[in-house]
């Protein structure tokens, strides 16, 4: 196994008592004090995550928007400059290479933020697709640190540290500075709450982290992040998404725009092929975990839990589960096999928790 990487904030996490675990090739804090307290800080106040392990690619030049639009299934060309767009990145056969956010920072300047575990896979894939596009394409993941400041008090907290902070729309991006240091600020996140992701050079971000700690922002680890994203039903690559499924299998039909003239995977994805359906299930008793079997009314296995946890807001077990579409029950009676016992599970249509983002 290759050596684990550390973000520039590693020593800060250790000083704060963060419990460090290997994640996607990095040594990352999974929690500092309590997963529950950290998650609730984000829901009710403000918390900050070090997500510097994530990847940042830049596309610059005349065809920057066109290249980004060709790579992904969602519509980049028609989004105005200053917008951020969530999208899967698919192969010709429709399977998902990764999910990512495309930031239209300025005309002819696009940033793409990708999952840490997929940086090399994504970059290599995208590079092979650049032929014919007049733009540069660079991987600057090693140059940037990234914080996610999340929660209803994120805006007022961040205001005192950055030179200019307009009341940006959710899912938009803005270039500003902290002191004399440039940062890219996006009103995005992975918690369902209002908040910002702040991309900057290592020392700029380290100073900001320390300043946020000094004003009492709660440091939050990966475990809280996972609970928060699952409560609002955001998919996680390696769980709901992987190299074998397409966006329709993962409930992401809304991110595929077959009317676009060309994009990788268009020919297949136009026909909306789906082998699976991603469902949201909530339990009165028991905690569903990844890999547990989902059963129908006849106790037949019809699918698997892709992510499960105890919701800190609802105090109930919640999960996302991948159901084989030909076996999806019409009566919608589900249970989950937890240690050889069937626990009833209720299907819900809306996310378990409504985040407070704009």
């Amino acid at each position: 196994m290759s050596e684990l990487l550390r973000t520039n904030l590693y020593d800060e996490h250790v000083k704060l008592g963060g419990k460090i675990v290997p994640f996607a090739g990095w040594e990352m804090p999974v929690q500092y004090t309590s997963v529950k307290d950290e998650a609730l800080a984000v829901r009710n106040s403000v918390g900050v995550f070090d997500v510097s392990h994530m990847g940042e690619f830049f596309i610059e030049g005349k065809d920057a928007e066109a290249f980004a639009d060709y790579l992904v299934t969602n519509d980049i060309l028609n989004a105005p400059t200053g917008k951020a767009v969530y999208s899967p990145l698919c192969r010709e056969n429709g399977t998902v290479v990764d999910d990512l956010i495309v930031y239209k920072i300025a005309p002819e300047r696009v940033m793409i933020c990708v999952n840490a575990s997929n940086i090399e896979k994504d970059f290599d894939w995208m590079k092979t697709k650049k032929t014919g596009f007049d733009c540069s394409f660079t991987n600057l993941s090693h140059v940037f640190s990234l914080l996610a400041l999340q929660g209803p008090k994120a805006l007022e907290t961040l205001k005192s540290f950055v030179n200019e902070l307009p009341d940006l729309e959710y899912y938009s991006v803005f270039e500003t500075s902290i002191g004399s240091h440039p940062v890219i600020l996006a009103r995005t996140g992975y918690t369902g709450e209002d908040g910002f992701e702040i991309f900057g050079h290592h020392q700029t971000i380290k100073d900001l982290w320390k300043n946020l700690m000094a004003v009492g922002v709660t440091p939050c680890g990966l475990a809280a992040r996972d609970v928060l994203r699952l409560e609002v039903c955001y998919p996680l690559y390696g769980h709901e998404l992987n190299d074998e499924v397409n966006p329709y299998d993962a409930g992401l039909a809304w991110t595929v725009k077959p009317l676009k003239t060309k994009f990788i995977g268009k020919d297949i994805l136009e026909s909306k092929p789906a082998k699976y359906k991603l469902v949201k299930l909530i339990l009165e008793k028991g905690i569903p975990r990844e890999g547990y079997a989902v059963l129908n009314a006849k106790n037949e296995v019809i699918g698997q839990v892709t992510s499960g946890t105890m919701s800190v807001v609802l105090n109930k077990g919640i999960c996302l589960a991948r159901i084989q579409i030909d076996k999806a029950p019409t009566d919608e009676v589900f249970s989950i096999d937890i240690r050889n016992k069937a626990y009833p599970a209720q299907l819900v249509k809306k996310p378990f928790v409504t985040g407070g983002h704009k």
């Binding site: 999974v30 929690q31 309590s34 997963v35 529950k36 475990a223 996972d226 609970v227 028991g286 905690i287 975990r289 946890t309 105890m310 800190v312 105090n315 077990g317 240690r339």
Partner: protein, 129 residues
């Protein structure tokens, strides 16, 4: 990690504690275990009357993030379970030694001698991570 290890109890390498009073053994999980697990949100233990075998799994403790099996320190019959802790698992985080899980009527007293003393458990915690 600072841990609280009362000297009147015995311990297992799976981080259970036992209190022996005559034939009756009270079982819980240690302060070290609760601290390592984090917020405990679910506890499942056998019903009264269940037969336990030493070393076999008899239930689970779940934190938000993980599931951990419980291993029986001794063999015997479950004579009581702590319904309060099943209803409010966070009590284990607040007081690991006050929050027992089950009481067992033991079959074989010699099994107690195979458990760790407080000193041995302390040593085990110091070297096992």
């Amino acid at each position: 990690m600072s841990t609280n290890i009362p000297s009147n109890l015995n311990y297992t390498k799976e981080h259970e504690w036992t209190l022996t009073e005559g034939d009756i053994v009270t079982i819980g999980i240690t302060d070290f275990a609760q601290s390592a697990l984090g917020d405990i949100v679910f506890v499942e233990v056998p019903e009264v009357g269940a037969d336990l075998k030493v070393g076999a799994t008899f239930g689970v403790v779940e934190s938000i993030k993980s599931v951990s099996d419980l291993y029986s320190p001794i063999s015997g019959e479950v004579i009581a379970k702590n319904n309060d802790v099943e209803a409010s698992p966070e009590k284990i985080n607040q007081d690991a030694y006050g929050s027992w899980l089950i009481k067992v009527k033991m079959k074989d007293h010699s099994e107690i001698n195979k458990l760790l003393s407080a000193e041995q458990y302390q040593e085990f915690c110091n070297t096992s991570h």
